[in-house]
Symmetry: C2
Subunit: 77 residues, 2 copies
Amino acid sequence: MKKAVFYHAGCPVCVSAENKVITLIDRKNFDLEVVHLGEEKTRLAEAERAGVKSVPALVLEGEVLHINFGASLSDLR
Amino acid sequence: MKKAVFYHAGCPVCVSAENKVITLIDRKNFDLEVVHLGEEKTRLAEAERAGVKSVPALVLEGEVLHINFGASLSDLR
């Protein structure tokens, strides 16, 4: 089981992307965690270390997929 | 079976995103088509109509997920 983390901030762009990612992703192979960075600010540093510049973003196997653009990570501090 | 179209242009950002999308996507529910817009220029208009502004991008169920940024669609003409 591989791990994928979807970071978002509750914005409309985030919610729309989240819905798509949830339907798209192969849940047999990926364990998907959804993290709301507006509510879990303690995880901002972790997202930053993973290379997340903006949300929504999906991190998997050490790579970041920035999906559309909702907000910069710096605006969530 | 739902249809998903991944548009790219062969750029390094595109290839990296493509690899991720191919592993991520639930192929039991999604029929994934990969379109190289540099080689299939006749499909640029279709991508544009779908709302694609840049590649790589994934179109599914009428929505566009722009994934990272490789090139603007206008630069592929």
